[in-house]
Symmetry: C2
Subunit: 211 residues, 2 copies
DNA sequence: TGTAACGAAACGAACGACCGTTCTTTATCC
DNA sequence: GGATAAAGAACGGTCGTTCGTTTCGTTACA
């Protein structure tokens, strides 16, 4: 197999998949025809079938590409976390989560397509035991971080997962669901307020008696 | 127009829409054919077109029905909130959010279908200025709740919106995305731990100096 | 009270368009 | 010259929708 050909072929596939991604995201998988992809990519239908066996093969190849990139991102993210429950570190975490969402919004859009049109067949298991995975990845760092002060007793794995999800959904609302200011203010302020709430609580002293 | 006929017609429409909902949710909108809906509902294609002008009309009617029910739920929810930042009240809030998600999961599934296949055309504006709407609906209750103790200074509207979203996404993960224990533990424990984190913070005393 | 009339409800065949895929042909590279 | 890339016509099937027809329930009138 000649080198130039495989390079060209790869370039063609990238163009086809880029076009497919664009139309999938705008109209969904079943709302996109091969003719749409052909037109958007500039290749003929016949030629697309020289590169892919079926329409679903394009979709799957697309997902695999994104999964690989996202796995990298996830590893970077996990490795980059230090003394997680320190407020300054939580702010770093927030912007890392921002990066995960904003640098690959199409990954999440594809995931929603898959949930809606394929019952999550191609992303299956990506979110199972999320808290456990978090705990496993962070390992001892999680517990050692709680020993740096007077830890209040919340389960550390639960806490970091909840905080992660809070930021994740905040940025997802922005980028994927086009909500401008999900918490009614700037990112900077929202992040710092969430961190204050999470670390110091809403009340300066234990809450008042009811009534 | 005869009374019995309109009653029968309404009954037929409900059956058709129920069948459409089921197939839409399993295969998405574009993945569902009128023949699918006909078969699932027990009505012929021809007859379905006596009741609806187009396939999209079924979809829209379905959404309108759900929107009406959800508007009710939302109003009940808002009206039911009292001294919101009291931990006991936050727990009530958590279970109210649970109810919103678990009693109408198909509303949220339809919303995801709309996001994926119609660019959110039919649900447009449902999530804009979410924090502002929250503040407007809760009104003075929000601020008076902060005067019941030593409020830490977090913006009340931001706080209640963030807490709402935390619970909302927690239960959504369970019901719509089939994640068993999103935070690795029971609902009861997850809710109480989140509330502890939100009200008292992760640390009993202000966090330690870094390093 | 019986019945003619009429519109709604129901059906499934039929229509034209478009679907995913295959086939045939031509051009392009090692 | 033999594989690969490229193109687009063609195929069988399915799509959303329309059509013609029959059945049913109500109402108007004798």
């Amino acid at each position: 197999m000649p080198a130039a050909n495989t390079r060209d072929a790869e370039r063609a596939k990238k163009k086809i998949e880029a076009a497919a991604l664009k139309t999938f995201i705008h109209q969904g998988y079943h709302g996109t025809s091969m003719r749409d992809i052909a037109q958007a990519s500039g290749y003929s239908i016949g030629n697309i079938y020289n590169h892919y066996k079926t329409k679903e093969a394009i979709y799957i190849s697309l997902i695999k590409r994104f999964e690989a990139r996202m796995a990298e991102k996830r590893n970077e993210f996990m490795a980059g976390l230090g003394d997680v429950f320190d407020p300054a570190e939580l702010e770093r975490l927030a912007w890392s989560v921002h990066d995960i969402v904003f640098s690959m919004p199409d990954y999440w859009r594809l995931m929603y397509i898959d949930v809606v049109e394929f019952r999550n067949r191609h992303f299956a298991g990506s979110f199972h035991q999320f808290a456990k995975k978090m705990e496993a990845a962070l390992g001892e760092r999680l517990h050692s971080s709680t020993r740096r002060g007077a830890w209040g007793g919340v389960d550390p794995a639960l806490a970091i997962t909840a905080i992660y999800l809070q930021f994740f959904n905040y940025f997802l609302l922005q980028k994927v669901f086009n909500v401008k200011e999900p918490l009614g203010t700037s990112d900077q302020k929202a992040v710092s307020q969430i961190i204050q709430m999470m670390t110091r609580g809403l009340w300066d002293r234990p809450g008042p008696a009811k009534g």
